[in-house]
Symmetry: C2
Subunit: 159 residues, 2 copies
């Protein structure tokens, strides 16, 4: 199974800096929208959220900026499930121009299942867990990008 | 010396989700604007960028979402310099509501000095490096938040 491609967007005029390059903050807006598309894919779209009072929250994300993207360009986000448990989802998005293979940015996220009646962390609803497990069985053997699990720090000094 | 407070913003209607909570992507837009304010503070504002053809790019950022923020609320970003070298800057932002001490999100960034005539990585210009060093001498003994240097992963399973 390939990666999931659930979100495409055209870089908007309000998203670019003085150089007409996509601003770092708006890469994250696009990645956030890709997670919203993933929510619909696993059964947490607007209607299901209203019916079940369940949703998910982003706990944490890590973005690496690899290449510039100009205003007006269409970008695509591919999504890989790295891991999950009873109430967490660990995912990895890559951003690309159009249908290119080249990665312009990576974005790792940890998401948590939420019962909005708390709000509090809660186990995934059974149909949602079923869809997550479908993705996992299809993607578990895919290679992982080296930026997964990365932490930020200066490189060691050369001696 | 306290942390630097260089940026405040009111959460805009376009930044919130269906629940009137600040969307995860827009926390990052606010943190990005805080880095823009830091650029001006160290001598890389618009006029200096035009005059010197030097700027900085964001290489990487890591955000932790701790508390919700409602639309219309004013937030403040405090900034700490964690480390730097001849062409990199490692910073840590915390977001707060108004003048509260409580942290609603943390954001760690690695930034790189850029000569736009490449564009290519380049040493900090001497006046910029002087201002970075001033911050470093004032902040080097401040405690570090536990999210600095963090990587994303599921917690170990309880046995």
């Amino acid at each position: 199974m390939p990666l999931l491609t659930l979100h495409r967007a055209v870089v908007q005029p309000g998203w670019v800096d003085y150089n007409n390059h996509l601003n770092d903050g708006y890469y994250t807006v696009i990645f956030s929208d890709a997670t919203t598309a993933l929510m619909a894919h696993i059964g947490l779209g607007p209607a299901e959220r209203a019916a079940t009072q369940h949703t998910l929250f982003t706990l944490e994300m890590h973005t690496n900026y690899l290449l510039e993207v100009k205003g007006g360009v269409e970008v695509r986000v591919d999504t890989q499930l790295l891991a999950y448990d009873v109430k967490r989802l660990h995912i990895f998005h890559t951003m690309h121009r159009g249908d290119e293979a080249e990665i312009v940015a990576t974005n790792e996220q940890m998401l948590m299942s939420i019962d909005m009646r708390g709000p509090k962390g809660a186990p995934w609803l059974p149909p949602v867990l079923g869809r997550i497990d479908d993705i996992w069985r299809a993607q578990r053997d895919l290679p992982r990008h080296k930026n997964a699990g990365r932490s930020i720090g200066l490189p060691p000094k050369k001696v």
